[in-house]
């Protein structure tokens, strides 16, 4: 059990085309027992970060510390971390039982105790019937569970899971998400989980660290990421379907300030708190971000209304995603499946002023 702290961590890979900065000035603290996801698109530096935490990759500069103890020069074994790999990395010539027991075997745990713990882990992961087989005889999902089991059988300072679900089909992934959560609750150990899938990250973690272009963009709970994204990238990356972004002009005097979207006569009315922030920063132009889930075809007491023409109605089963356009601006909104609308019709949609996120168009930083 450990608190994992990264201070000013940098990773630079030499390459033929000059040095590549894979991780830049990363500061991150994962509390003891916390489940944290490192989320980001491919190549954002999340796996490099993870490998530096484990000790498979040298740290170019900065400090990785467990419970305040610097770990930079220690081997993975000395750091006592357990890791599950994206490619499972099971020992192909071992049986499943031997695979699970290898970390114990290495630590000279005696046979009886080893068997007891292998059985316990196998039971927890529901792979008891596979103990005699070899890795290649197993399906991807089963290998995944063995790989997790090999990490879980130890009592490490932290569990490190690298894209462990990227090769699972949707159904199995859903099941494994639940299992992982259950296992974390019963074991209660610090867990760092790398993924590019925001659904996995949000479903599993206490907090999510969003990375992009070698930098940490935001580290927060799912609500913070959702409601107060640090910048446009986070607002865009978190949430499905993706957030609508509209470029707008700040318009009107203090009393009746509104955001006029370029190339259309749509005017968004954010709530007073956000307007105050716009005024404070003296912005003339802003980027508006509004999530499709926060735009509805149903009116409400505190909602504002706008009208636009329907371009596309995508029926997704439990909901429809309707794309509307007004002038040059396109907005996606969600509607209940029974909502029927034909392209070309006008539709009135409603939003809460408090759901209108405002970004600085130049720096893309969240204003309010």
């Amino acid at each position: 059990m450990a608190q994992v702290t990264l201070t000013d961590v940098n990773k630079v890979y030499p390459s033929r085309h000059g040095p590549v900065h894979a991780v830049e000035d990363l500061n991150l603290t994962v509390e003891d027992g916390e489940f944290v996801a490192l989320l980001g698109p491919s190549g954002c530096g999340k796996t490099s970060t993870l490998r530096m935490i484990v000790g498979l990759e040298a740290i170019t500069s900065g400090t990785v510390a467990f419970d305040g103890q610097p770990m930079n020069d220690l081997s993975p074994e000395q750091r006592n971390v357990a890791m599950a790999f994206e490619t499972y990395a099971l020992y192909p010539t071992f049986t499943i039982a031997d695979n699970l027991g290898f970390p114990l075997d290495v630590r000279n745990v005696d046979k009886v105790e080893r068997k007891r713990r292998i059985d316990a882990v196998a039971k927890m992961l529901r792979i008891e019937h596979l103990l005699g087989s070899r890795p290649r005889q197993l399906s991807g999902g089963e290998q995944q569970r063995v790989s997790l089991g090999r990490a879980l059988i130890r009592e490490p300072a932290a569990f490190i899971l690298d894209e462990v679900m990227s090769h699972l089909d949707a159904h199995l992934k859903f099941q494994m998400l639940f299992e992982l959560r259950r296992i974390h609750q019963s074991v209660g150990r610090t867990t760092i989980y790398v993924t590019h899938d925001q659904m996995e990250a949000l479903a599993l973690s206490d907090r999510v660290a969003v990375m992009s272009n070698a930098r940490l963009q935001q580290f927060g709970t799912r609500d913070e990421l959702y409601d107060r994204p640090a910048n446009r990238f986070v607002a865009d990356f978190i949430g499905e379907p993706p957030t609508n972004f509209l470029e707008a002009q700040v318009d009107g005097a203090d009393g009746a300030m509104a955001l006029a979207v370029d190339g259309t006569d749509l005017r968004f009315q954010p709530d007073p708190e956000r307007l105050a922030a716009i005024r404070r920063d003296g912005l003339k132009r802003v980027s508006i971000g509004i999530r499709p889930q926060n735009i509805s075809v149903h009116p409400g007491p505190d909602k504002a209304a706008l009208t636009a023409r329907v371009v596309l109605d995508e029926f997704l089963g439990e909901q429809s995603i309707v794309t509307v356009a007004s002038g040059d601006a396109q907005i996606r909104l969600t509607a209940p499946p029974e909502f029927q609308v034909a392209p070309g019709e006008d539709v009135t949609f409603h939003y809460r002023p408090s759901d209108v996120m405002v970004f600085d168009p130049q720096t893309e930083v969240f204003v309010a």
């Binding site: 099971l90 010539t93 290898f102 290495v106 290649r136 005889q137």
Partner: protein, 340 residues
């Protein structure tokens, strides 16, 4: 007004830039069915010629001599009777002669020594060097250079290597003896008779090992390169020592590769004759003769055609049994890999 019509040449098929002499409509049906546009087959006889010629060549240089050999293995053919054409059938006498001859039996014994200390040692040494090179040297350029240097001997013709080592191993002026004297292992007046009857076989083994260790090395090295790196990272995270990684992960994963290297080396070693011929000519006093060399001597030097044929058949049978066993093993390995 006359319009100049381009004179239409008689229908002529042009395929791949060459005119076909046969009118396409006269092509046989099978050929029409097979033919595709741009096909290399431009004439119905081409397939027959392309298959037929190699078959003729194989019949002439492999099948006919083999049948000839089997025939003469059961006759008392020698140089005289071969030319006069009056050989007599002797049943299995030739085989009895071979199997009871000391020359053949001791050559088999030498083959055993050669396989054990030559081929096996080369595979072990090659494996060790390959793993050492892969694990021990991190710099890619250095690794490539060392690999090339190690592989160089393999690129030389075996007979040239034989000549080279024959010079190196000369008792009086050979470089090896000089070296041993200069580094103080041996007194200045002492000589090791490398090519004498006591050591000649071992000298052959030495020269052969120098040349061929690189083959198992290359095979095992490429096998090691293709092992998944994630497995090794997992082992590091699990805390396994390098010895445990080697014995429990690397070697078991390389087992089949090493076996294949061994099979290849073994099959090569079995027909080992070039260096014997160049370095010792089987001598002195037949002390470095291997079975294939004995057969060669019997047939080409002494012209005992019948006896040499019996030698050849025995060697062939032995080789066939071994190859069958090896193929069975390979089949098992492949099947295991498919079902796993």
């Amino acid at each position: 007004m006359t319009t100049t019509e381009p004179t239409q040449a008689p229908a002529q098929r042009v395929i791949n830039g060459r005119a076909s002499r046969i009118d396409p409509k006269d092509y046989p049906d099978w050929f029409k069915a097979k033919r595709r546009g741009g096909s290399l087959i431009v004439h119905p006889l081409v397939p027959a010629v392309m298959v037929g010629l190699p078959i003729l060549v194989i019949v002439a240089i492999v099948i006919y001599p083999t049948i000839w050999m089997f025939y003469h293995a059961f006759h008392d053919t020698n140089m005289m009777s071969l030319f006069s054409g009056d050989w007599a059938a002797v049943g299995f006498d030739n085989f009895g002669l071979v199997l009871s001859s000391d020359r053949f039996l001791s050559s088999i014994e030498r083959l055993g020594i050669y396989l054990l200390f030559g081929a096996c040692l080369q595979v072990l040494l090659g494996t060790a060097l390959a793993l050492l090179l892969y694990e021990g040297i991190r710099n890619n350029l250095a690794r490539t250079i060392i690999l090339i240097l190690l592989v160089l001997p393999m690129m030389l013709p075996p007979s040239i290597v034989g000549v080279l080592w024959k010079f190196l191993l000369q008792a009086n002026n050979g470089a090896i003896n000089h070296l041993l004297i200069n580094i103080g292992v041996m007194e200045a007046t002492a000589r090791i008779e490398w090519l004498d009857s006591g050591l000649s076989l071992w000298s052959l083994v030495l020269a052969d090992t120098w040349q061929w260790t690189a083959l198992p090395l290359l095979i095992v090295y490429s096998g090691r390169v293709s092992l998944p790196p994630a497995v090794y990272e997992a082992a590091r995270v699990d805390g396994a020592s390098s010895w445990r990684v080697l014995s429990r992960i690397t070697l078991p994963m390389l087992r089949e590769i090493i076996a294949i290297a061994f099979i290849i080396r073994f099959m090569d070693a079995y027909k080992f004759v070039d260096k014997v011929y160049v370095m010792t000519s089987g001598g002195p006093a037949e002390s470095s003769e291997l079975p294939v060399f004995v057969a060669f001597q019997k047939g080409i030097r002494e012209f005992q055609i019948g006896e040499a044929a019996a030698y050849a058949i025995l060697i062939f049978l032995f080789a066939a049994i071994l190859v069958t066993l090896f193929l069975q093993y390979l089949k098992r390995v492949l099947r295991a890999q498919q079902t796993q």
